[in-house]
């Protein structure tokens, strides 16, 4: 089926998936995962799911979109989609991204330069469905036909497209087969941005049709706006958890740690991804220890949403994005802090420091800083006594897309790692040319149906290849190895993907953040902060 896939298949009336991926068709992996025959088979979607949901794209299903019951329902949904498409190209509804979107719509030369940059396309064995231009070309044709009111010549000039429910349902799924890493945009000779097209498609579905992955919307941004965090922790719960972490870290390190809350006038308001508090408590604990040891005046905030830096709206909904960004800034204003420091969370970095920049004006325009630059300043400034020999194990560094390519923070984390990790080695390529972990744009927390199989086999595959290549000389389990990933979302993907392939059990590849490496190297801390246990 793969070689014959063409754009018109997207509006095929049947509900059969357009493609099936086989492990032996995927991009080969290096040792020890170099035998596709021993790779895990994918979980198949249940008959019930196929009966109830729109699964006509590929072997997985990110949205569990219910099938419409009648042709009238279908027509109504198509009408809503078209209405959303129209709004996407009006300044009142979409001033936020209108200019880059129109430029992308009108100037792609279909040269396919972007394809080779896309890790999903490459990892899938260059499956046509995942080519960055496949999705964009459909949207582009819809734009010229329905928005630019194309006349008789439109199909000849821009290609034909038929807007029907199967197309809309498949586009909804296809919008969630892109990590929004924008590596494709980076290589486009014209500057067209296929990642943006996926982002804007998601917005039509969310903002007009109320369709978004449950993990991002109901259990994500809505839960954060309701109780304060997508983890479900309210202010009391988060304080309790942090108190427990403080206690644990104090005992483990021999250094008393106490996280300050709601300190007015503090220099730094530190906002973690609250997932760290639940899943990787050593990370916020390590931050508390380092900031105290460096003599920094800092605080956390117990205001609604201000103790959780996540902003899932970044991936699918401008309204939700703006609401959460404002909550973060308002908390900082209320405490009169001098700056906001974002913990190790890539999308939170980009959301608050970059994307929200132009809507935070007046007294909400409080300086925002990456924790990576703060940690660099602490290390380079000699504010901690460090013993790099405590980190005498192979370390490689994953670059979160949102921090490097999309924000430009490339060297600070390297300065830290080079200073404290004698056996540091880069992945290739790295820095702004990095590859996504495969969990970007919300995938790391999307676990509906068999979606994890897709993100382990396809979206995470390129990164997996990079990790194995980086540690190729020391895969022996006798040598513990550390994959440093200063981003919660990326860590979530690594936790799941490394476990799936047994890379901790068989090869002792552990993942973790940057600040943990710093504490592990601190002279005054009891040795063995990194415990070499799987979490």
């Amino acid at each position: 089926m793969k070689p014959s896939l063409e754009l018109h298949d997207m509006w095929r009336q049947d509900r059969e998936p357009l493609i099936h991926l086989q492990n032996d068709q995927l991009m080969p992996l290096p040792a020890p995962l170099d035998n596709p025959g021993t790779d895990y088979p994918w979980k198949t979607l249940s008959a019930q799911t196929r009966e109830r949901c729109e699964c006509g794209l590929d072997d997985t299903c990110a949205l569990s979109l219910p099938q419409p019951k009648t042709p009238e329902d279908e027509a109504q949904l198509v009408g809503k989609f078209l209405s959303g498409l129209e709004k996407l190209f009006t300044r009142e509804n979409n001033w936020t991204f209108l200019q880059p979107l129109v430029l992308t719509m009108e100037h792609c030369a279909r040269c396919q330069t972007c394809s080779e940059a896309c890790h999903i396309y490459e990892a899938s064995g260059r499956n046509e469905l995942y080519r960055p231009t496949f999705r964009s070309e459909i949207v582009r044709r819809l734009y010229f036909k329905h928005i630019r009111n194309g006349g008789l010549l439109t199909a000849w000039r821009h290609g034909d497209v038929k807007l029907n429910w199967p197309l809309v349902a498949r586009l909804a799924e296809l919008a969630y087969r892109c990590n929004l890493c924008r590596r494709c945009a980076q290589t486009c000779p014209i500057g067209a941005d296929n990642g943006l097209v996926a982002h804007e498609l998601r917005k039509i579905f969310s903002q007009e049709m109320g369709i978004a992955p449950k993990e991002l919307h109901d259990n994500g941004s809505m839960l954060q706006l309701k109780v304060g965090s997508s983890t479900g922790m309210n202010a009391e719960a988060v304080k309790d958890n942090i108190a427990f972490i403080d206690e644990d870290i104090s005992e483990k390190t021999g250094i008393e740690v106490r996280t300050p809350w709601d300190v007015e006038g503090a220099d730094v308001l530190l906002i973690h991804n609250a997932g760290e508090i639940m899943a990787w408590p050593e990370n916020p604990g390590a931050f508390a220890l380092v900031l105290d040891a460096a003599g920094i005046s800092w605080t956390m905030s117990s205001e609604l949403a201000a103790y959780d830096s996540i902003n899932y709206g970044l991936w699918y909904d401008d309204a939700q994005f703006a609401r959460v960004a404002l909550k973060h800034a308002e908390a900082a204003r209320k405490l009169k802090v001098k700056r906001i420091v974002l913990g190790e969370c890539g999308h939170a970095h980009k959301a608050l420091a970059v994307i929200a920049d132009r809507i935070l004006d007046g007294d909400l325009n409080i300086p925002r800083q990456s924790s990576l630059t703060l940690l660099r300043d602490i290390i380079v400034g000699g504010r901690l006594e460090l013993d790099p020999s405590r980190n005498d194990f192979p370390v490689t560094l994953h670059d979160p897309c949102n921090v490097v390519r999309l924000m430009g923070v490339v060297e600070p984390q390297r300065e830290v790692v080079r200073a404290i990790c004698p056996r540091f080695r880069e992945m290739e390529p790295h820095g702004v040319d990095n590859y996504c972990c495969g969990g970007g744009s919300g995938f790391a927390i999307m676990s509906g149906q068999n979606f994890p199989d897709w993100r382990f086999h396809v979206s995470g595959r390129k990164k997996l290849q990079q990790i194995l290549d980086a540690f190729a000389d020391c895969l022996d389990p006798a040598t513990p190895k550390y994959l440093c990933a200063p981003c919660s979302n990326c860590k979530g993907q690594f936790r799941d993907m490394l476990a799936y392939y047994g890379l901790w059990e068989k090869h002792r590849i552990l993942y973790g953040g940057l600040v943990e490496l710093i504490v592990n190297a601190m002279h005054d801390v009891k040795p063995g902060f990194i415990e070499w246990e799987w979490r």
Partner: protein, 274 residues
């Protein structure tokens, strides 16, 4: 009379090209300032920008780096266009033709430009037709556009090299256009080439081939635009926040009456309260 009609056509082509480019550029420039959406590395200062722009414009560096097979056909095509532009600019700047050296230089750049456009367009066409990943995304217009370039280059080259003795070449005609010299009598083949060229020039701004305009904006207004909400941007942002969106999903709470600012400061998870 026929010559003056040809001149009118050439002027019309040039004016349509310029007007089309201006209209397109103004349309993009008038789009609202979007949220920051840059891609790093972002160069700083004029010299930093030039370090990226010059190799990109002159040598299509991005394509060389990321899509070498395409560069091999696209670069000759673009280089040919640059040489033709240089030739045209030379004719305008030195309308009388200057000395023999300048005339010969213009002949060389003009001919080389047309040959390169011919070769590049042929290569691009062959790739587009034979390479599946290009073919299945191509529209009828994509093929037509390349054929249009091909035809124009062939006509102009043939019009120059096969012109009857005593008839003017393309450079002489272009100088005649500027001097409004109705005495010239170009051959039919050359006239066809010039008409085709004028029509092509008028057509380009109506298509995605006007990406030289788009590229300015994709780089300067998107990839490299790190400006914060200060000064004029702050004023425009304040204006945008008064827009009244009509997104229909319930959680957005956009009824066409509420502004972006009001929507952003309400909380749908708490019954719309702040």
């Amino acid at each position: 009379m026929a010559t003056l009609v040809l001149y009118c056509f050439l002027y019309a082509g040039g004016i349509a090209f310029l007007a089309g480019c201006v209209v397109r550029a103004v349309r993009y420039a008038k789009e609202p300032i979007h949220l920051r959406w840059e891609i790093y590395p972002v160069p700083h200062g004029r010299s930093g920008e030039l370090k990226i722009m010059v190799p990109e414009i002159l040598f299509l560096k991005g394509l060389w780096e990321f899509n070498r097979p395409m560069w091999l056909v696209s670069y000759p095509f673009h280089l040919g266009l640059y040489l033709i532009i240089i030739t045209l600019a030379g004719v305008v700047i030195v309308p009388g033709g200057g000395d023999e050296f300048l005339h010969r230089a213009a002949l060389i750049t003009g001919n080389a430009g047309l040959v390169l456009v011919l070769a590049g367009a042929t290569g691009l066409l062959v790739r587009r037709l034979t390479n599946r990943e290009l073919r299945i995304y191509s529209s009828g217009a994509d093929i037509f556009n390349l054929l249009f370039f091909l035809l124009t280059a062939v006509l102009l080259l043939a019009g120059y090299w096969l012109r009857p003795a005593g008839t003017p070449g393309p450079l002489a005609v272009l100088r005649g256009v500027l001097a409004w010299d109705g005495a010239l009598r170009p051959s039919g083949l050359l006239t066809a080439g010039l008409v085709s060229g004028a029509a092509l020039a008028a057509y380009i701004p109506m298509t995605h081939m006007a990406h030289f305009i788009a590229k300015y904006f994709t780089y300067h207004s998107v990839r490299w635009d790190e400006r914060s909400a200060e000064g004029s941007i702050a004023r425009r942002m304040a204006e945008y926040l008064t827009y009244r969106p009509t997104w229909a999903a319930k959680h957005v709470s956009a009824d066409g009456q509420r502004t972006w600012a009001e929507i952003a400061t309400t909380n749908p998870a708490r019954g719309g309260s702040k």
